[in-house]
């Protein structure tokens, strides 16, 4: 039954379909912008796009880790809004922005822990769990704020993240860039990162190989909660206010789009942080381009939804999954 075959290592590997298609999509979008809206390339707009990419990218990093382990976290934006609202209320009341920021992170971690516990220990389905926490958390944010925006936050807080210490690039962008590099390295070379891929590829084999799969799954959701908390800080600083509708449904769509366009498989076990950031860049530019060209918001939703379906359809991982 054993067939002896020794495949020689290929000298040149074709890039995956997903990479080719996303590169083509990126170039087509940039060309369209160049023709129809050359203003896009102005310095001010580029910085603005980078800020948007950073915040979407941060959430996409959290989603990427969860998806590599084989789950999904739909509660990310709602989680961000909840943390932002709670932290902002504290800042407004006390003027202490550092503790406010810590509250935002703590809220994110706590919600991540709830998601992780439900999935890893109670063996619930990630999609359902995080859809439920999304609903609960969104409802709570609206209730806490009475749907009002919380503004007049401490200037020191806003100025801190709006500062441009390096080549005119805002602190927010730098923070995300450093963090992304760190997470990319940890996913590639840390024990936890290897465990994450191993569980996502095949949890049965991972279990036999002594990997504590429950802890890996739990940790992935806590990590995405942490990313939601960090996003809450940066987004609140950028907007100068916090509100419950920071985490509207369109954001979930953008995060998932960024991940699948960036080559993170929804079947688990494959994907890289830089890929997800590229996806976030592509989705942001695509949204901006449609906006500049004058495509209606609703049509842009149709386009983004179609992009997700197209990329899931060409996901190579589904063919190798049992």
């Amino acid at each position: 039954m054993a067939v002896t075959q020794i495949a020689p290592a290929p000298l040149f590997a074709w890039p995956s379909r997903q990479r080719v298609v996303s590169a083509v999509l990126m170039i087509a979008t940039l060309v369209a912008i160049g023709v129809y809206a050359p203003n896009f390339f102005r310095y001010h707009n580029i910085i603005n796009v980078l800020l948007q990419v950073s915040l979407l990218g941060l959430l996409a990093i959290g989603m990427t880790v969860v998806m590599i382990v084989g789950g999904i976290d739909l509660s990310l934006p709602a989680n961000t809004a909840m943390g932002a609202v709670l932290g902002a209320l504290y800042m407004k009341a006390t003027g202490d922005w550092a503790v406010g920021a810590l509250i935002m992170i703590a809220a994110g971690l706590l919600i991540g822990l709830v998601n992780g516990f439900a999935v890893a220990r109670l063996k619930m389905i990630p999609f359902v769990v995080t859809l439920a926490t999304m609903t609960v958390v969104s409802g709570a944010s609206v209730w806490v704020t009475n749907s009002l925006s919380i503004s007049q936050l401490p200037d020191t807080f806003i100025d801190f993240f709006d500062a441009r210490p390096l080549l005119g690039v805002p602190v927010t962008v730098l923070v995300v860039a450093v963090l992304a590099g760190l997470v990319a390295m940890l996913m590639r070379s840390s024990v936890a990162g290897r465990w994450a891929y191993a569980v996502g590829i095949n949890d049965r084999a991972a279990r036999v190989a002594r990997i504590p799969i429950g802890r890996v799954i739990l940790a992935s959701y806590v990590f995405s909660g942490l990313m939601a908390g960090l996003t809450a800080i940066l987004l609140t600083a950028r907007l100068g206010s916090a509100s419950a509708n920071m985490g509207n449904d369109g954001v979930v769509l953008d995060i998932v789009s960024a991940c699948v366009v960036g080559g993170v498989s929804i079947y688990g076990g494959s994907g890289r942080v830089p890929g997800a950031l590229f996806g976030a860049l592509l989705i942001t530019i695509l949204s901006n381009a449609m906006n500049l060209i004058g495509v209606s918001y609703y049509l842009s939703l149709i386009v983004k939804g179609a992009v997700i379906i197209a990329f899931v359809a060409i996901d190579g991982r589904k063919e190798t999954k049992r």
Partner: protein
Amino acid sequence: MNAQQTSLRMEGISKAFAGIAALRGASLEARGGEATAVMGANGAGKSTLMNILGGVVASDRGRIVLDGAETVIRSPRQAAQQGVAFVHQELTMLPTLTVAENIFIDSLPSSGPFIRTREMARQSEALLARLGCSIPPETRVEQLSIGDQQLIEIARALRHKAKVIIFDEPTSSLTGPERQRLFNVIRGLKTDGVVIIYITHFLDEIFSICERVTVMRNGETVWSSPISEVDPAKVVHLMLGVAENEGRIRAPIEAVGEPLIAVTGLRRDGVLRDVDFEIRSGEIVGLWGLLGSGRTELLRALVGLDPIDGGTISWRDGRTLAPIAPERLHAHVGMITEDRRGEGVHLPLSISDNIALPNLKSLLNKWRLIDRGRQNALADAMIDRLKIKASGREQIVATLSGGNQQKVVFGKWLATSPRLFLLDEPTRGLDISAKTEIMRLVVELAEQGCSVLLVSSELQELMRVCDRYLIISRGRLIDELPGSAGASALMGSIAMIDNDLEVAS
């Protein structure tokens, strides 16, 4: 109905999968009113033969004669039309539907767009009554026990007026009383003149329920006779064949010293009970039993892959033997399960990444990150030591041959320096030379002081390396034999009929 009217003959059936012969001119003869046991070890070809009869796969050659007329069966649906029904080991029920709906699923009685529920219930009741059971037809199947679900599946077969019913290991998940009830149902079907084909790994069952026995080995039918002409030992001999003397790799040693691991009273309800044994350092112990005897389950329970319901596992740590939880024992043990592709390796990863996986914590650099250089060195060392044939450490494991994949699995564990290896069918699906290589490796491990608990379906393989045998049957260790035991003693040991029909419970 005339009980001798129905007859089934399969003649000269051959089938190859991807050029490898699964059946070589196999034959089967069965008569109405009788149950015919089909016996054979793993890979003997009995499933393929039954799948051909059930229309699941097509034969390359050969013919099927049913009631004296040659019959062509190309799909399960055609099989059903010809009166051939299959009661699978894994039941094929729709759990959220009712009993009646499950019985009638392939042709619900209807008038216009509506299902005639009452008519369906009435007929279901009648069918179930024939089986001596009174489950209300409107019960949802998920609320029934496995044994009851099996009866529903048989009722489905009866509705098609099945002339031939194939039972594929029907008792493997039944309790004692459920099994007795099933036997009564089968006796009833026999008096109705149905041809019963009965596949099982439990020897005792065929002597209590079957009139004829057919034994298969390596894709051929090697024996066919009334059951009265054989005894259990004879059947085991026929199934396993003459042990070809491939020669021992190592003469049995008498291990001395204190045990490395001691297990007392290990129990998993319905699977294992009263399991007591010890293994000493450097000893290769064969766990010998037929498929379904609990041998795989015992290995999995020891390291916590399956839960246990009682008993103690003690492990030597330093000088003392102390109780240890199965999950903790896992950290000291190299575990090779029977499902190499599903549990042994991560197919899409490279050789290097696979070997590194259980060893990550020993490959860290001063930044607590995995040191690529050390990982590569480990992979290269294992490729070299185990003579893994590959283009290099970066080759994807999915593209390796089975033997080389198995070596990767050994490589993963070797680097963790385990003191005990649990090996479940480590040579399954490998060619002769790869098998020998793996067995040599097992001996080499033992020479270095490792203990091994080895499960194999192939007796001759166990006989090449084992120092001692534990005999397992129906979830219990029923005997222990020395390494010098011969093939007939070993075959005889599992052919002992357990008068106590109860599965561990």
